[in-house]
């Protein structure tokens, strides 16, 4: 019985808790990608860099707050900085939209061109980030590091295995829940949200119903900017902010969005968690876990790891390929919000 509890704790510590946090970050990222796809009908590959941009603004705002001696004592100061950072990121989105995407939209360019344009925006944003904050890693997490320490957990339960929950992980899940609930409420309950859904459903008819496309697009960018900032800031807080990781983060984010059905917000959230858990499940070393649940004579010698953690990205790639082969529309058959 004790062994079984130990095994469960092990899973909780290495898969469930990190999976929930990472899944939340992916879900927020995928939600942003999906919103842009649903309304503007193109895959925004610059979304990863947008997240990075949001995280960078959060860091700068955090530093500013810290220099004034403001902090949240227990929670990371970054939480306070996120709204201001979101505002800056939203402004950046609006500027990019105005000078780049709007230009192409007026020319009624096809979606493939749009997608190439978004790659241009990706490099521009990446360059801008290097200019402002430099290519080095930044750690901007402060406050109490753990909600639950492994040592305390062991003392509490008397188990061999510890369970640690980082403050940032707890915060990630809570903030994600609030933001996702807000986005869903917005899309389903408010008139503006309904206009967005209508526009995404049938653009021609929406235009002829007097829905102003510029307004819908503007609101899409506002929501996307907020989602990207929060996703980027939480990812940076949870791990560490490295400007280069976001280029690779785009892959699991897109895998999540496509797995759930691009353009479908429920799908994006579900997809985010599925991708996060798959990555962890495939790269977790089960040696200790099996040691606990199997009789002693069966316990394995190797690490019993399906894939090395170096191949983490490959997991999302594999899922992406499988989904595209079997059900290209994703689980929830997306396209409209």
């Amino acid at each position: 019985m004790i062994d079984f509890l130990n095994a469960l704790t092990l899973l909780a510590n290495y898969i469930i808790v990190p999976g929930l946090a990472y899944g939340s970050q992916l879900a927020l990222g995928a939600l942003g990608v999906t919103m842009v796809y649903a309304v503007l009908r193109f895959s925004n590959f610059a979304h990863g860099e947008l997240m990075s941009f949001g995280a960078m603004c959060t860091i700068l705002c955090t530093w500013a707050l810290q220099s004034f001696g403001i902090s949240l004592t227990i929670l990371p100061t970054a939480l306070l900085a996120i709204p201001a950072a979101a505002l800056i990121t939203v402004l950046y989105c609006i500027i990019i939209n105005y000078f780049v995407y709007e230009h192409y939209r007026e020319k009624k360019i096809d979606t493939n061109t749009y997608f190439i344009v978004s790659i241009g925006v990706l490099f521009f944003t990446a360059g801008l980030i290097r200019l402002v904050i430099g290519p080095k890693d930044q750690n901007f997490s402060d406050g109490v590091r753990f909600i639950l320490k492994a040592r305390d957990f062991k003392a509490m339960t008397g188990l061999n295995e510890g369970l640690a929950i980082k403050t940032t992980q707890g915060m990630t899940v809570v903030v994600t829940l609030i933001l996702v609930a807000f986005v869903f409420w917005f899309l389903n309950r408010t008139r503006t949200g309904k206009s967005m859904r209508a526009y995404s459903d049938n653009e021609d008819l929406a235009l002829l119903s007097g829905i102003n496309p510029k307004k819908v697009i503007l609101i899409t960018w506002i929501i996307t900017g907020i989602l990207a900032t929060v996703a980027g800031a939480l990812y940076g807080l949870d791990k560490i902010y490295k400007p280069f990781t976001f280029m690779y983060l785009v892959l699991p984010v897109f895998a999540s969005a496509i797995l759930g059905g691009v353009g479908n917000p429920v799908g994006a959230v579900v997809g985010g968690y599925i991708i996060a858990f798959s990555e962890l499940i495939f790269t977790f070393a089960y040696k200790k876990f099996l040691f606990y649940i199997l009789p002693e004579s069966f316990s394995p010698d190797g690490l019993v790891q399906l894939l090395s953690t170096d191949y983490k990205i490959a997991v999302s790639f594999l899922i992406l390929v499988i989904v595209l082969l079997i059900k290209p529309t994703g689980i929830f058959s997306g396209k409209t919000i």
Partner: protein, 257 residues
């Protein structure tokens, strides 16, 4: 009401609409007929702002509206329906109707937060209006159904309903009767007549069914090869030689093409 002055639209080398000039009188139900490829739908699209015209002008009550984007034309009271009925498939029938009126307070982000009472009052009014429209079209029991699940004919009715949510100056109907069964066609026809007589709507409709046209439209405009060929009452049109020729062709003409 609407004056179309030597309007042209070409796609590449093809002149879909070629110097078409016509007027639509206030309070009329003007029928627009012509063989396939005559440029009727293109003409509609140009008037409704889907494409800018290559040449020519459109006036709405003496105001030039040439090439305005669709959502601005809508605000000026120009509405249209589509040849293949369009709907917001993921919204309910009632929500589809409530989508129509422009400039709702709920559309302004700030009002969403700071004036919820005003929005809910507006929404209440809209819901009532939508219910009245649904009663008029005998669609009440489908109010909470997703519009994507309606039959083709019901979607056509819904399209007509959308025009009733606002007070349009003119409604362009693109083959509202196509692919609709006789009974439903009757309902649609009656609704159009009632809207015209009781509420003073002006219609301009593309239609192929001569019987349907004769019952509703006065005058009828015939288009062929992008221009206006003839204009008159339904019976005059039926007897017009040029029209018969345009529809049936005269061997000679086909050979030239």
């Amino acid at each position: 009401m609407i004056l179309i002055d030597t309007l042209s639209k070409s796609f590449g080398g093809i002149k879909a609409v070629n110097q078409a000039s016509l007027t639509i009188k206030k309070g009329s139900i003007t029928g627009l007929i012509g063989p396939n490829g005559a440029g009727k739908t293109t003409l509609f699209n140009v008037i409704a702002g889907v494409y800018p015209p290559s040449d020519g002008h459109v006036f709405l009550e003496d105001e030039e509206v040439t090439g305005l984007p669709p959502h601005e034309l809508f605000k000026k009271g120009v509405m249209r329906t589509f040849q293949i009925a369009q709907e917001f498939s993921s919204l309910t029938v009632r929500e589809n109707l409530m989508m129509v009126p422009a400039n709702q307070s709920g559309e302004r982000l700030l009002d969403t937060w700071f004036r919820p009472a005003r929005i809910s009052m507006e929404e209440k009014g809209l819901t009532q209006k939508a219910n009245e429209v649904l009663d008029f079209l005998q669609l009440r029991e489908l109010a909470d159904e997703l519009a994507g699940n309606l039959s083709g004919g019901q979607k056509k009715l819904l399209e007509l309903g959308r025009t009733m949510m606002v007070e349009p100056k003119i409604v362009f109907l693109d083959e509202v009767g196509a692919g609709v069964n006789r009974t439903l066609l009757q309902t649609i026809g009656d609704s159009i007549l009632r809207l015209n007589q009781e509420m003073g709507y002006t219609f301009c409709m593309i239609e192929h069914d001569m019987e349907f046209i004769s019952k509703l439209c006065e005058p009828v405009i015939v288009m062929a090869e992008g221009s206006v060929l003839a204009q008159g009452s339904a019976s005059e049109i039926k007897a017009n030689n040029a029209v018969i020729e345009a529809y049936l062709g005269t061997g000679q003409k086909n050979r030239k093409l």
